[in-house]
């Protein structure tokens, strides 16, 4: 949990696999890397067994690049497709039992604060819609009501992808799936309103066909969770297998769903705005007179 773990043990340089050597010498640790530099630095995410063309994979790839301090970040996941990739990254990954991820993350984030004090250590939960809105629902909501300071990201493919196509609370009304042949009977759950009601300091929706926006919302969410309060990002990350989307049409589908039910939205509290402006120089949240002073200077 610091730059110290991303280095060679003396005498072992020559024995480490190429991927590890590339990570130590050309990885993003301790540097500011962004999506615009993709393809020219060694990424934290490695090869993994998620399906070809899966939009969830693309989202996870972008999210990990967006972490403001990857060397000080721990991810928390649970059963579901996403963990197959998140676990194959060069940052610590904690695997909770199905649904208990926000409980695990609460303890972890509190423990890290006790141990490291003011030095920020970021905890990021990334879990499927079934694991979060169904099985982990109470744990998720309670962590928000308790104002636990960490980031929760829902990988919403609107289905239980890993187990072959059961409906989740996040499935759209009427959707017919392999293991839900009669069609979903009730509406897609409104987790965004619940996150706001429970007092999350930052809530955003995003789709992976806008990489810079993914980067932007993840950075804000992780930074705000350091000091202000819980943050929640809900990302549409289609399952091309269960929804039979040809892999070369995945981005087209993202756009269709974005226009239909995943328009970009961002909710940020006053405290969080002030914090991003004061601490991290976010111009968009600076009060107007302060902005004028900066442009004059």
């Amino acid at each position: 949990m610091s730059l110290d773990y991303v280095k060679f043990s003396p005498g072992f340089e020559g024995f480490m696999p190429k991927e590890y050597r590339d990570m130590v010498e050309h990885g993003p640790f301790g540097k500011k890397t962004s999506v615009s530099q993709m393809g020219s630095f060694k990424e934290i995410l490695e090869e993994h067994p998620m399906c070809a063309g899966c939009a969830m994979t693309l989202f996870i790839r972008l999210a990990i690049i967006a972490f403001p301090n990857p060397e000080d970040t721990i991810t928390v996941g649970t059963a579901g497709c996403g963990r197959l990739a998140i676990s194959q990254a060069a940052i610590p990954f904690v695997y909770g039992n199905y649904g208990d991820q926000n409980g695990v993350a609460s303890g972890l984030s509190r423990g890290l604060r006790l141990r490291f004090g003011d030095q920020p250590k970021d905890v990021v939960v990334m879990v499927g819609d079934g694991g979060m809105a169904d099985i982990g629902f109470s744990g998720t909501l309670h962590s928000w009501f308790r104002k636990e300071k960490f980031t929760t990201i829902m990988l919403d493919n609107e289905v239980y992808g890993n187990t072959g196509g059961q409906e989740s609370g996040m499935t759209n009304q009427g959707a017919v799936l392999k293991m839900a042949p009669l069609g979903k009977k009730f509406e897609k759950m409104d987790m965004l309103s619940m996150a706001k009601l429970a007092g999350c300091a930052y809530v955003a929706t995003v789709v992976p066909n806008n990489p810079r926006r993914v980067e932007n919302v993840i950075r804000k969410a992780v930074l705000i969770a350091r000091e202000v309060g819980p943050t929640y990002i809900q990302a549409y990350t289609s399952c091309n297998i269960e929804y039979a989307i040809p892999t070369d049409k995945v981005l087209e589908d993202c756009k269709t769903v974005e226009d239909d039910r995943y328009k970009f939205s961002e909710h940020i509290t006053e405290d969080a705005r002030d914090y991003l402006a004061d601490r991290y120089g976010y111009k968009e949240f600076m009060p107007k007179p302060a902005m004028a002073a900066i442009s004059k200077a």
Partner: protein, 109 residues
Amino acid sequence: MYLVANINIDICAATSCKLCTQFCPEANTINYNTELGKDEGYKYGSAYVAVDRCKGCAQCVWVCDNMAKHHAITMVMIDQLPKAAMTDYITYGEKSTTAQLVNPTAGSE
């Protein structure tokens, strides 16, 4: 045999817009070399595919055709590529990567 993405350097190096890698679901699969094509007078370098990491989804083809509108990427059977980039033969520099091209079905030989 299976399909992998192949980037036409002559088309890509004319702009090297760097869009496709931001949409490839796999990490470090579409990389950039700022020197590729410079010997032929192109200024920006080119994208190339580490074929051992490519899962053949063709999302990059869609991106290059429909977003970049450059039509530089096609899907090719891996044994039909005479030479291609593979992870073991890619080196990272400060702002760019370099790939020594090898036969993907025979490795370095």
